[in-house]
Point group: none
Chain length 195, copies 4
């Protein structure tokens, strides 16, 4: 802890093996059964190497998920706010249902971020905040273009669009499908659309 390790000398092969192993194990056995020891064994790596670069198994999984999911961060902008929202919500649902990213993502948001405050911050930073920012940008553009009323509280709108997904996530219910998301988008937009 005294000397932070030197990033330059880091062995990229080990890093990859660790991230891959952690996601594999999470998919195979579930998040609870993932252990630092198990990751080390699967990756052919020493435990020390894991602890040198990460603080906990949660931090490993977080990096693995960020690594695997960061391609899909963008919020589409076709000019049609309803279509874009629908596309974006669909993307989010897919992330949670993807066999590779779903389990670890749920574990991070539901389990780790309520056990480990430090990790919770990193999770917010890396997985949540940028998406919220993008959402707000897109919504403000829609306001500028007159598709959405100007004085609406975007925090509430965010909760209304994403709340149903998280509600069902927490209660272990099936996540919204295509039609269901359509209803959500329609209901909410109905309340905040111009004229």
């Amino acid at each position: 802890m005294v000397n932070p390790p030197n990033e330059q000398r880091r062995n990229e092969k080990s890093r990859r093996a660790i991230l891959d192993a952690s996601l594999e194990l999470c998919t195979e056995k579930g998040y609870a059964a993932v252990t630092v020891e198990g990751i080390a064994a699967r990756a052919g790596v020493s435990k020390k190497t894991i602890y040198r670069w990460w603080q906990s198994k949660g931090a490993v999984i977080l990096e693995a998920v960020v690594d695997a999911a960061d391609a899909s961060t963008d919020f589409p902008d076709t000019g049609d706010i309803a279509a874009d929202l629908h596309a974006q919500l669909t993307q989010v649902v897919r992330l949670f249902e993807d066999p590779r990213s779903g389990r670890p993502l749920r574990a991070l948001l539901l389990i780790e971020s309520h056990q480990d405050p430090g990790l919770a911050g990193q999770i917010r930073e890396l997985l949540v905040d940028s998406r919220i920012a993008t959402f707000n940008q897109r919504m403000r553009r829609a306001q500028d273009e007159g598709q959405i009323v100007a004085d609406v509280d975007l925090d509430v709108v965010l909760d209304q669009f994403y709340g149903p997904i998280y509600h069902r996530l927490v209660l272990n219910m099936d996540l919204p499908d295509h039609d269901y998301l359509g209803k959500i988008v329609d209901y909410v937009l109905a309340g905040i659309t111009q004229g």
Copy 2:
């Protein structure tokens, strides 16, 4: 599990001590730091006694929470659906913020119910299903009375009312306050109220 223990001979004093100890520990140190050993020590009870009647620390906490919170389950019915919803949502938020029930409740819904499928079922049964049923009953009464349109999908409505709370819960944001809940109720009702 081989010999299901005899409920009649159960020592009520031990049961109380265990439930009380588990909530105290959870409040003091956080859910992650609660252990069966810790509960046993605090309650002055043998570990065996805990394992005889519960399957895990989660099951103990669940019973403790049910025990402590079941008074407030009822959905008000004043005839004014908006006021009743607001009151009910406020109740829910309070449960999550209460210093005694908040931490264990969040832990059960966010952590345990995604680690232990068996416990997840019990949590739904004891904490969630009855509330959903009551919600549905109240909503249907509102439909009968013509306050709400008849052909609305109540599952979606449920998600819309409770989603924002869960969304903020998962992301560790401040839960909705009185005004915020008012907005939610207004927005959603606006979409499903009889013209």
Copy 3:
């Protein structure tokens, strides 16, 4: 460490398995290669059980050696002090050469008692002091019977009889054989025998 464990509830079968395993491993692989983990695995016992009752692998080996060797502690008394000394020294040499007790005994006296002061004290108590006391008793009887001069310094005599064995032990030389011990006894007795 807070609560010393309760001796009465101790599992004798585990204790035996641990002591046996430790001597076997020491004989097979040498003292340096004995580990607490190895003993636990061989004995089919948890590490915790070892740490509950002993402080280190050295303490385990000490008890095992004491257990295995305590039959041979007696100093013979036939009335002939030369013969008795020769018999006793032979016994000691045999202990150091015995395939079962030799390696651990050397390790305790040479290695552990110079690394771990606490253990050193126990080793002295259990393996050394009583033998020195018995030696002194026998010598005093020989003095009473007039076989040995009365004013000799018994500490020096002890060193003279046992010193050669330890000298050769430390320097990894062959231990004295029958004849060699005879010479030692003769030489030393020659200096302290009654006129």
Copy 4:
């Protein structure tokens, strides 16, 4: 081992720093607490540099001790065998009691030489054999001069003179003082002096 390093290019400053650090650490914390990593850190040297020139921490300490102690190897020859023996035994005791050389010397003879056969050989070569040879030379001269009987077994005599020191060393007893050594010399010489 593949490419034996080039002695000529060796950095003498590093060598000195390593030897000094190893003795300092041994004196400060005891032999058991000396580690290659610790020596490297204290000496401001890389572990690789230590492993390039020595095989183990024991080998480092051995060289350090040889370096520090080799001045005092000589066996005095004043013509008076009793006085010379007393002087020599006193020198040996002093080596073992010296605050700088005592701990590492004991560790080498008692601990390492019974854990590491390769090192044991080097220890004998560098620390023991030459002294035994010198002892034998001096004794043979005494025989030539008629001070000691001709047919005595010098191996036994060696054991008799040095045995007491090693005996007390092994058992963690105070080493012989001036008077004590005098008694030893007198007793043993009494048995082998010309009539």
